[in-house]
């Protein structure tokens, strides 16, 4: 199986954009290579801004560039480009409705050995509460490239959540990617698994295991957390009667919470949110951490069997 990280997909997206749109500029805070922005830097040095280890200033500078007609992509680690600069995101970007895109790499616990300080697992919650922001979580490198390009085409702030770990390619080059329109990956009638990012792959695996047990799970790739695809969620609730969400993020305030808000207000059905339960991450290999925090296909299978009893 082909493996590639979503940050690589982002870097490729930036490069494509650089070639087709002169308005695109990229900023980073001493993390050019780690965020895969150095490919853009090499080809378009005059449109690349090294800002030093000064994230707050970088956000403001990006806002100023955007207010002057540029499409500014900010590339940085998820922890440093959300919580650390949340007020700058709120005032200088969101309140200005500035055309800034945040390429947020190293999200989730699969960052691995660097440990809790470097694992952004609160970022979806922090970003989806900001007005004017669109929030996207690509499921693989192909989708990350598409999301990067799509983000450049809408006017306003976009947050793109990316990871460091190499992931299987599960989407197709030819599949259409539309912001706000979730992707139905597998039909099913007994329950629905709604996932984003790295958990989409785990959910597909879980659905295959469940199928062998005679349980048919629908699988949805909810790549856009905001604006959320209400229709696909409501239909899933109505048609399958039970929903599991799976994300590499705190369950509080994350993608699962966003889905729960839609379900609860429209057609309440039994739900279970899989994610990190009010704790920090820790050092370890990505696969070890996925097991430790119950983010594997096996965990999804187990919860699927449990939720059917609540239907």
């Amino acid at each position: 199986m082909e493996l590639e990280s979503t940050r690589d997909g982002y870097g490729e997206g930036l490069l494509k954009l650089g070639r087709e749109n002169k308005r695109v500029v990229v900023l980073t805070a001493d993390l050019g290579e780690s965020t895969r922005s150095h490919w853009f830097q090499k080809e378009f040095p005059e449109r690349f801004f090294q800002m030093g280890i000064a994230e707050a200033d970088m956000i403001g500078t990006a806002a100023g560039l955007a207010l002057s007609g540029k499409i500014a992509f900010v590339s940085d680690f998820g922890v440093f480009v959300t919580g650390r600069v949340w007020d700058q995101l709120r005032v200088s970007i969101a309140y200005n409705n500035a055309n800034v895109k945040i390429g947020s790499t190293h999200c989730g616990i699969t960052v691995g050995a660097d440990g809790a300080t470097h694992q952004a697992i609160e970022d979806i919650a922090l970003m989806r509460v900001l007005p004017n922001f669109t929030v996207i979580v690509p499921a693989d490198a192909i989708e990350a490239t598409k999301a990067t390009i799509a983000a450049s085409k809408i006017n306003g702030p976009v947050y793109i959540r990316l990871g460091r770990a190499s992931l299987p390619i599960i989407t197709k080059e030819t599949a259409e990617f539309a912001i706000g329109k979730a992707e139905l990956l597998k039909e099913g009638k007994d329950l629905t698994v709604i996932a984003c990012g790295i958990m989409v792959h785990q959910s597909l695996e879980a659905a295959n295991v469940l199928e062998k047990k005679g349980i048919f799970a629908r699988v949805i790739n909810l790549h856009t957390i905001k604006p959320i695809d209400r229709e696909i969620i409501i239909n899933a609730a109505k048609e399958t009667g039970a929903i599991i969400t799976a994300e590499e993020h705190q369950v509080m305030g994350g993608m699962g919470s966003a889905v729960a808000e839609v379900v609860m207000e429209n057609c309440p059905v039994p739900m279970k949110r899989i994610g990190i339960l009010d704790s920090f991450g820790q050092s370890g290999k990505p696969e070890e951490l996925m097991r430790e925090y119950h983010l594997t296909a096996d965990d999804i299978v187990k919860e699927a069997q449990n939720i059917l009893k609540r239907k």
């Binding site: 500029v25 005059e46 449109r47 801004f49 800002m51 030093g52 000064a54 707050a56 200033d57 970088m58 956000i59 403001g60 500078t61 990006a62 806002a63 100023g64 560039l65 955007a66 207010l67 002057s68 007609g69 540029k70 500014a72 007020d87 700058q88 709120r90 005032v91 200088s92 309140y95 200005n96 409705n97």
Partner: protein
């Protein structure tokens, strides 16, 4: 708008703007008089003499840009924008009221003429840098002005931005610090020691111009000087009097963020009117 006005004319406008600020705050019942009054000459000189801008075409591509980093002093900016014709002067009395485009801190989406939303201190210079960088990229020759409070420069982000402007040789950028020596809780040197202040900016690679910031002639000459500096950004450190023009507010820390009551408003306007008639004599 780049028609030169003479000094007396500008001084008259300053008095009118001070009266507008008092009226607006009196009507609103809350807001920040001290830092609005101290920076009147700084902002009036920009909009009535120095900057190229068009009130009827606020998004004119080649305009010079002004960012009010100390957003709490927006009554001053609103009064100046209205006087330039960006919006009708009647709107001034809607300050801080429900539905008004004159928000308690400036919002660029609501009000034409506001380049960037501010109010959370310490962010404006970074935004100004971005606008100045875009100017260089686009080979435009507009200039970018950014007004900060002295207390505001306690913020670490300001010094990040100070480094960035130097690193990218932003000679199209001119920062102005309203050095009124007061912030909310007291004297700047008691709250967080700033001196030796000009030396700090110099050490970060900036051209430093120190002036008496309530003297129009000095303010104008500082901007002229800054325009000629090449290869690095300039900062005008403007020594001012917080609350300038209203005797009972001058240098009084308690007038940082409270509005004058009815009698205080009248008293302040009386003083300012007396100053006007003195001038026109």
């Amino acid at each position: 708008m780049k028609g030169e006005k003479d000094i007396t004319e500008l001084q008259k406008i300053c008095l009118e703007v001070r009266k507008d600020i008092i009226r607006m705050l009196g009507e609103a019942g809350s807001g920040h008089p001290g830092g609005s009054l101290s920076a009147v000459e700084i902002v009036v000189s920009l909009y009535f003499s120095v900057m190229r801008h068009r009130a009827k075409e606020p998004n004119w591509k080649d305009r010079d840009r002004f960012i009010l980093s100390k957003g709490h002093c927006c009554p001053l900016l609103y009064a100046v924008l209205a006087k330039c014709g960006y919006f009708p002067a009647e709107k001034l009395l809607t300050l801080r009221k429900l539905g008004s485009p004159l928000q308690g801190h400036p919002h660029n989406i609501e009000l034409p003429g506001i380049e960037a939303s501010t109010g959370s201190l310490g962010q404006g210079l970074s935004v100004a840098n971005g606008i100045a960088l875009a100017g260089k990229l686009n080979k435009k020759n507009y200039r970018v002005y950014c007004l900060l409070g002295d207390g505001e420069t306690d913020e670490g982000q300001v010094w990040e931005a100070v480094m960035t402007a130097n690193h990218y040789h932003l000679d199209n950028l001119c920062a102005i610090v309203d050095r009124n020596r007061l912030q909310i809780d007291g004297n700047t040197e008691d709250i967080m020691h700033l001196e030796p202040y000009p030396e700090k900016w110099k050490a970060f690679g900036w051209k430093v111009i120190e002036i008496e910031g309530n003297k129009i002639e000095e303010v104008l000459s500082a901007y002229r000087q800054a325009e000629k500096i090449k290869g690095k950004p300039s900062v005008v450190i403007a020594h001012t009097i917080k609350g300038k023009g209203v005797s009972f507010m001058e240098n009084r820390v308690e007038w940082h963020g409270k509005a004058p009551k009815k009698e205080e408003t009248e008293k302040a306007l009386e003083e300012l009117n007396a100053a006007v008639s003195l001038r026109t004599k």
